[in-house]
Subunit: 447 residues, 2 copies
Amino acid sequence: MRELQEFVRFPSVSAQPAHARDVAACAAWLADHLRQAGLPTVQIVRTAGHPIVYAAWGSEPERPTMLIYGHYDVQPPDPLREWRAPPFDARIEGGYLHGRGACDDKGQMFAHVKAIESYLHAARRLPVNVRCLFEGEEEIGSASLSAFVERSHDALTADAAVVSDTRMLGRGRPAITYALRGVLGLEIDVQGPQSDLHSGNFGGAVHNPLEALSSLVSSLHDASGRIAVRGFYDRVRACSRREREEMARVAPSDAELLGEAKAPRGWGEPGYTAYERTTIRPCLVVNGIVGGYQGPGAKAVLPARATAKINVRLVPDQHPKEIAALIREHVDRATPATVRTTVRETMAAKPVVIPREHPIMRVAALGYRRGFGAEPAWIRSGGTIPIVNTLQEALGLPTALMGFALPDDRIHAPNERFLLSNFHQGIATSIWTLAGFASLRRAAPRS
Amino acid sequence: MRELQEFVRFPSVSAQPAHARDVAACAAWLADHLRQAGLPTVQIVRTAGHPIVYAAWGSEPERPTMLIYGHYDVQPPDPLREWRAPPFDARIEGGYLHGRGACDDKGQMFAHVKAIESYLHAARRLPVNVRCLFEGEEEIGSASLSAFVERSHDALTADAAVVSDTRMLGRGRPAITYALRGVLGLEIDVQGPQSDLHSGNFGGAVHNPLEALSSLVSSLHDASGRIAVRGFYDRVRACSRREREEMARVAPSDAELLGEAKAPRGWGEPGYTAYERTTIRPCLVVNGIVGGYQGPGAKAVLPARATAKINVRLVPDQHPKEIAALIREHVDRATPATVRTTVRETMAAKPVVIPREHPIMRVAALGYRRGFGAEPAWIRSGGTIPIVNTLQEALGLPTALMGFALPDDRIHAPNERFLLSNFHQGIATSIWTLAGFASLRRAAPRS
């Protein structure tokens, strides 16, 4: 527990250059810890961005190989004033570990590290070959990791992957996630006058980039909540009636989902439940608008530019590049002659659906039954773990998404936390998954 | 010059609570300086906000009394990264003093302080009674000063006021401003879910307050650039054809005004020139939007709330309270059921037109002729100096707005500056205005 607290205390915020050294220090700490846990091969892989921590145990050809993925980088803690305790204090209270990254993903990935350590301590060996792949760029799109995977097929040869970076349905209700949305990050810049102007002297005669941006943002949805970008839904694969019926049985109801969100009312594309709108349907969310004066009080300024940070979630068979092009066209068409706009791509990852019939899913279910004493549900996630698609496409690896997070763990929000009993049951689940994995057919030798 | 540099070095940013001590220190420095200049009565008046510096010379009933107003508070220097030198360095280069507040208003008001000092040094007395009123809240709406004026009629009894906080038409082209727009500051808050959400997990099912705010902001103007708030223009007094023709002769052309703004194209209410749109017509400008993640890179968040800082400029006979009510109604009507909105008033000041035929205007013109060697033009300003309306309504005082600022002095913007030769010609202009003021008929005694 003390070790997980140490891990959470690193402000490893991958998005912010000012934290680059903290990210590197966190990687070094993690590598040390993996060595102490008894893994014979531990490497810190330098990249164009933040380092990857790679570790391996065993190369016995007759045994299957399990790849464990996690990420040690975290979301920015902003807005800071809404935290009840400093975000990197890693305080334990009420059965929870509190802090940015406690749940997403340090606590969840650390359960696997502790499972390996326990297994090695008790049995002096693991039942399967293990490859650990822990990255520092998940929250910014995993660009360096994707490049590493492409050039490291040998080091990453495995039979299946296990990732814990998803949610359960609630306390004692584990879930295996079999689909993730993709992501496309864009920044729309609107440029008006060459520099900021006095809003009294020029207000009324010069188009305000913030107002032009507001109109652009507003034009991205129609009044019903449907995305109004031409062609946006063209490639969206329809879900079968059978799958939707099954989802309706397992998935949270609209009331439950809005209750978790503490949102006054639902919103979004007509014809779908809230769960469907966050899983089998794409969405477009403005994560932030930057423009003009944002400090306390007032400043009478007409800003020179304004930016919207846009986050699109994609479903099969949408492709990030195609969607980026459609949004660019939309913005170009909607840009008035009084301002200039540019659209910049900041991240991209394809959606993924993992075959539920793959044997790794049986092993994962076994792990949960033993670790949590409950049968896992099959759910989809609205979130994105970019590497899962890469593992599938580049290495042919299916991934069992075995989350230990609760719906109210406030990931990406102030006062993130992680339930300590989930940490301990997660360790047990991981141990049973390692054991069950031994029954998997070993990988076909690669040429 | 060294003294003006010292004055500009105080980061007296009235809008930001973190600078409250700097504002107070600046007031203390100014009071000391007025004492050293030879003014026998100098007081720092504490208020609910920032202090007022009051100074007086003479109470001779047979002489007229001139009230000199200025403000020692400044706009926030944001965005800091766009300054070529730190905003409070007060560097002299290329004939300019550079820094936040150098022009607005420290340099301009200091010309009067230096004129008084010179006069007292040379003649040991002033030709008229003088009352100086220097405040620290002009950039945030002058609330404390208005209250002070209401309760201090005796200390402020005068025949006319002189204020230097406006622009000339260009180098060597002085101007007397005879009309100011009023101002109404509002903050529109949109509240959605109770706290920030993960935009992957909830995107598509919960209305994003930033997107709702964008639509609200977008609804405030129609496509032509006219304000779309019902009843907004009802009280706008039409300008006579004669006045518009005269303006067309004196005022900057659209090309000149947009050239100053370095804006690619004009924009705004149809049927008016750019100058008219910034002077005889009202406007509504969003000074800033605060919501979601504003740091570098990305953060996958659906924010709990979003705020727009709105700055409305008013013309006769619009009243801030009435306009605030109309905008509230508009926002209420336009708020969808999925979010809650509130509208908060942050500042208010009425527009003002000063009679051009008042004798003080003749005196001001004389001052400029002697100080700058040029006949001043008569112009309107799109900006606001809240106290000018208060002086007129509460004390019956007309104000000569004798600016020493140039159109490209970048007030309210990064790299603000003040032309040193305007500072010196401003001092000369002030000296001649003091001298000319002696010919004014003295104030009728007040009961």
